[in-house]
């Protein structure tokens, strides 16, 4: 059944058209340092929904940051009473767990297997953030981690465009600057920057101030965008489209004047 020589692929496939779009119900961002996070580890509620006091006890620093950004976004979007059961979650937790993994490897050498925390797997993998947010928000749509931030919005648009979910929480996180770590500590240094941007995306038929549209892109991607660049772009401060590897770009299409003050320091959302 296998072709004897590699045939050329189907060359009659039509060029990609404007195939997906979504509306931004609300969005928000926070910035801070690891030193800011400790008071945020015991929230009573996330997005207006009660959570266990231990919900973030073992979570990594970027998950705590993302929850702070989520709370701020829900508050600003007046979504505290919303029901997210039919929503999905897509979240990027880049290179998770560096400090804890390094510390654990060192402990393993010194103490053997019994020194290793059982929490490292559920809380320091690519899926850890999306799983935690899905749990907190009571989202019963799909949740998974995505390694490339630029892939998040097209994936969400595909879900929405095909009617698979009613909404999607999209979350980008980043540790920047991320200093070199040593093996003696299980958490990053206090001055490590932590950043998160959260978007609540809904079908394009829902009228909101801002829409995102996926279009075919002939131009090359200029490289991955960090949280700050995405935030600036969402706020209308950065020109151009978010060009992704693989021939796609995300266009920002404001319908009305978009809010410009969606970013805050972590301190603003405490309590």
């Amino acid at each position: 059944m296998q072709p004897t020589s590699p045939a050329r692929p189907d060359e009659t496939t039509p060029a990609t058209g404007p195939v997906a779009a979504c509306s931004v119900a609300t969005w928000g961002a926070v910035h801070g340092t690891v030193a800011d996070l400790e008071p945020l580890r015991q929230p009573n509620a996330v997005a207006g929904k009660p959570v266990s006091a231990t919900f973030l006890r073992h979570a990594d620093e970027l998950t705590v940051t993302a929850v702070a950004a989520l709370n701020q976004t829900v508050e600003r979007g007046e979504l505290r009473t919303a029901d997210f059961r039919a929503w999905g979650v897509l979240a990027c937790l880049p290179r998770p767990g560096r400090a804890l993994v390094g510390h654990s490897l060192s402990r393993y050498e010194a103490e053997g297997a019994w020194g290793i925390s059982p929490h490292i797997v559920p809380h320091r993998c690519l899926h850890s953030l999306s799983g935690a947010l899905s749990l907190a928000l009571k989202c019963e749509g799909p949740n998974f981690g995505v390694g490339e931030p630029e892939a998040l919005v097209p994936m969400a648009c595909a879900w929405l465009g095909l009617g698979l979910v009613e909404g999607v929480w999209v979350v980008l996180t980043q540790a920047e600057p991320q200093p070199a770590t040593d093996l003696s500590r299980s958490t990053p240094r206090g001055d490590t920057g932590v950043h998160a941007v959260v978007l609540a995306l809904v079908p394009e038929t829902v009228e909101t101030p801002l829409r995102l549209r996926i279009r075919p892109a002939a131009e090359k991607s200029a490289g991955p965008w960090g949280v700050a660049q995405v935030e600036e772009w969402l706020a209308g401060g950065a020109g151009g489209d978010w060009v992704l590897p693989g021939g796609l770009a995300v266009e920002r299409r404001p319908l009305r004047v978009a809010p410009t003050a969606n970013a805050g320091r972590l301190q603003e959302v405490r309590g």
């Binding site: 072709p3 050329r8 692929p9 195939v19 053997g112 297997a113 290793i116 799983g131």
Partner: protein, 404 residues
């Protein structure tokens, strides 16, 4: 997902403890042969669980420099081998002129890479600027794939999520073909210790081949395995024009979240049942038309019971009679790679018209009242398969494959 132009699997690449081909995998699972054994690659004396199903070295793809290949992390070697094998099978190895997407299920690549480097004397874990590119970017560049690319992780459900997303890219017209699937190379000191301390692993250390016993009353945890599979997905019309292999139709994918707990499945099993129902509905398949279920069942007391409950909720009375097996009884649990290797095993069932068994099923748990294929493979008509995969973070997925 009921598009008029179906999506087919036209290429398969496998890495497994049986060997690194679909044929080797087929021979192993249809013979009911366990690959679980005592772990010898490192000292396990202090580990609560001392057994696993690690892979041997994966082959170096033709034309590649062997030394350079062996310098890659084991996980990347595994992906590269599977990518090469799948694309070659599909007749698309380094064929230009198409938008080839890459979507892999990978959950812990950084943890595994840092550990491997550390054990070899390196300290990349301390030095962010020395991190290599991720495996998706690396394999996409190596294979010349210039379509969309993404790494997805829903823990042990990652492979099904990757296949589901690849299917969406085709549905949206964003790619002409997609290389997708998942793999894991996680039988390492840190993972064995972490899962062991989580009390998730079997401690039947004296009887490795008997340790993984899904649905059996004597089960006491899962056994870690290694390997995975990659697939080429493309439209049937494109495959027909190229004369490409037709391994199966990717007929349906369903996904949901428990929103209950990070590691414990929801006791109601309602959301897992939703994933099964969604996959069947998108495939246009009625419960009585399913010929084989490859269960997620990992051999943990809670998880296997939950899956049985989910199947009864989703399928009704049919759940007690549809032939079902958990091939993790033989392969161990491949974690991020599990869904993909089990999709490959479903291809084996479709190709061979045979259902692999759940081995070590000598005393079925009455709370798992299902149509078990116990201990010995069965020859039977297989046209439609359903494969469940669930994961930490509450991820539930189901995949329906159909003979093409």
């Amino acid at each position: 997902m009921n598009a008029p132009d179906p999506v087919l699997i036209t290429g398969v690449g496998v890495a497994s403890a049986y060997g690194h081909s679909l044929d080797a995998l087929a021979d192993g699972v249809l013979a009911g042969r366990s690959v679980v054994r005592k772990v010898t690659a490192f000292d396990v004396a202090q580990h609560p669980s001392q057994i696993g199903a690690p892979m041997g070295p994966v082959p170096c793809p033709d034309g590649e420099d062997e030394a350079a290949f062996r310098a890659l992390y084991r996980l990347e070697q595994t992906f590269r081998w599977c990518a090469y094998a799948a694309l070659r099978d599909a007749g698309l190895w380094r064929v230009g002129g198409l938008r080839l997407g890459v979507c892999f299920g990978v959950g812990a690549e950084w943890m595994q890479g840092w550990e491997e480097d550390y054990l070899a004397g390196g300290r990349h874990v301390c030095l962010p600027d020395q991190d290599p590119p991720g495996v998706v970017a690396s394999v996409a560049e190596w294979a010349g794939a210039d379509g969309p690319r993404a790494t997805v992780s829903g823990a042990c459900a990652s492979g099904n999520h990757a296949l589901g997303m690849a299917r969406l890219w085709l549905d949206m017209g964003w790619a002409d073909a997609v290389l997708t699937g998942a793999a894991d190379a996680g039988v390492s000191p840190l993972s064995l210790a972490a899962f062991g301390n989580l009390r998730a692993l079997s401690r039947r250390n004296a009887e490795p081949e008997l340790a993984s016993r899904p649905f059996d009353k004597g089960r006491d945890g899962f056994v870690m395995g290694e390997g995975g599979a990659l697939f080429v997905l493309e439209r049937a019309s494109s495959a027909a024009r190229r004369g490409a292999p037709r391994h199966a139709e990717m007929a349906g994918y369903g996904a949901s979240s428990d929103a209950f707990h990070m590691v414990i499945p929801s006791p109601t099993a309602n959301q897992a049942a939703d994933a099964v129902r969604l996959a069947l509905r998108r495939a246009g398949v009625a419960p009585e038309d399913v010929d084989y279920i490859n269960a997620h069942a990992t051999s943990t007391p809670v998880g296997d019971t939950m899956e049985a409950r989910a199947l009864h909720v989703a399928l009704g009375e049919v759940a007690a009679t549809v032939p079902i097996s958990s091939t993790k009884s033989m392969t161990g649990h491949l974690l991020t790679g599990a869904a993909a290797i089990e999709a490959a095993i479903c291809l084996v069932a479709l190709r061979e018209q045979a259902v692999p068994p759940t081995i070590n099923l000598t005393d079925p748990d009455p709370e798992c009242r299902l149509g078990h294929v116990a201990n010995v493979a069965q020859r039977r008509r297989v046209r439609t398969t359903l494969s469940n995969s669930f994961g930490f973070g509450g991820s539930n997925t189901s995949l329906v494959l159909r003979a093409a």
